[in-house]
Assembly symmetry: C2
Homo-oligomer: 292 residues x 2
């Protein structure tokens, strides 16, 4: 297991972590500049931030600053109510692959979607098994496109509290079952993003990380689970402020040969997004050394 | 599968559902009287409510009204920081068994506990594997006592969003692994409480309900998962208002031979606890017929 205590060379910043500074939106260009200034070597930007700043512009800045992309957020959202919706998701996901390629990302992270309409507050049906089948079909189709682009797809199992509206793949075991079905040869084209926030509770976590192995461990995300947690989406904690034994999980992941970045991804309306981005970044760096 | 559409003979009321009426505490004695008046044949009361009303008094009223107890809420909370804490939990759980016996409950429901201190906002450690071992040890010890009292223990797997502070048993598979370890003969002394709110998302739910079988399916709880859910604890929905396909899950449970009550358990600070208990009860009855 790598020693993170002396520097932050393996820290990546998911750009959502400082998408707001003192409550105001911080442009992606500023975020990239701040990372470069702090000696952060990798980022994982969101598509809406990239679109707002312009893909070509972001691509240029990433190269200028010498930044790597530990991932690109995000593709997915496969289930739809009709054929037109399925096609729209397919086309949008292909564009996400293209953008990830342009930015030379390590992988495209997939938040796979769930019950159509649920994220807008009104699910069109309650058949989660159907949604799961649609997700697998959608990944299967996208995988062909992504293979040609040589862009690995990382299925991110989301915490079960998001099963209705964001992702109906909710455990490592379930994600790896999809990987086994679609890429039995473990080619590296399909794998998982392990986010400790989503999977820390799972009694089968160590076993499934071992099952994943090096070929399928494409990304490692960190933050912390606060007690109490006051919001289902935007109350993630800074590493060290919650109950997740992050070093233990990182140890399991690295025991399989994972040697990539540890990506900090914190959504925090009430706390970190209210602070100055400078302070948040400094804290991420300090906690990366002490608590990851 | 039983037809619930014509009456509510298989409805049980978990008394938390109307523990508040128009925002004010409703005494258990009033709740029992209201249930009897509405033709509700079973309840599942909470220990604090019973303590406030007096055990002997509640026992008398339950008999007078001819009410059954589909369960008794609740034992558990096994993990502790030291031997004194373990002993205190043991003693308290034995009292819970005694009370359940006095009230002739079908089972004592176990919310098993998790990281000590987390529920108070400050976990004393982050070792969830240790907590899980302590839970299994605690259940093993309590089981001996409960067997003598002939009081079945129902492990309630709680949603993974409660893994830190309320229960570190979070899936049916995990609960049944404990049952297999402690009661391999499926004596009926140890089983599970299936609450759709906690387990609806689980891709292995049907498989694990089949694994449980009749001997281990001791209770069935219903409410609904709202989108969005605005509070991790107290924003449960009325059956039919959310995304859970309750009849499908009830079908799986009943296919194993479960023929007990469907217990309505809704914690709802912002909605149902603000309404008049009469309205909440009437809605429970209507939705039991239409959406369970």
């Amino acid at each position: 297991m790598r020693d993170f205590s002396a520097d932050h060379r393996w820290l990546s910043l998911n750009t959502a972590t400082i998408r707001k500074s003192r409550g105001a939106d911080l442009p992606l260009t500023d975020i990239l500049e701040a990372c470069a200034r702090k000696g952060i070597r990798a980022v994982s930007p969101w598509r809406d931030q990239v679109a707002a700043a312009g893909l070509a512009n972001v691509s240029k800045l990433v190269r200028q600053h010498g930044l790597e992309l530990s991932g690109y957020c995000r593709g997915g959202m496969f289930p739809a109510v009709d054929a037109a919706g399925v096609r729209a998701a397919r086309d949008d996901n292909r564009r996400a692959v293209d953008e990830a390629k342009e930015l030379n990302a390590t992988c495209l992270v997939l938040v796979v979607g769930a019950l159509p309409g649920a994220l807008q507050g009104k699910a069109t049906h309650k058949d989660i098994a159907l949604a799961r089948n649609q997700v697998q079909d959608g990944i299967a189709e996208l995988l062909e496109y992504a293979r040609q682009a040589k862009m690995p797809l990382a299925i991110e199992p989301l915490h079960p509290m998001y099963a209705a509206d964001r992702a109906c793949i909710n455990t490592m075991e379930q994600a790896l079952d999809v990987c086994d079905a679609l890429d039995p040869g473990k080619s590296g084209a399909l794998g998982v993003a392990v986010d400790v926030y989503h999977v820390w509770w799972d009694p089968k976590l160590q076993q499934q990380i071992e099952r994943a192995g090096r070929e399928r461990l494409l990304a490692f995300h960190v933050c912390d689970w606060l007690t109490p947690t006051t919001d289902l989406l935007n109350d993630r904690g800074m590493m060290g402020d919650g109950v997740i034994d992050i070093p233990r999980i990182r140890g399991w992941v690295e025991a399989q040969g994972f040697a990539g970045y540890s990506e900090v991804e914190i959504f925090s309306t009430g706390n970190w997004w209210q602070r100055d981005a400078e302070e948040t970044l400094d804290t991420c760096i300090a906690r990366h050394r002490s608590s990851v």
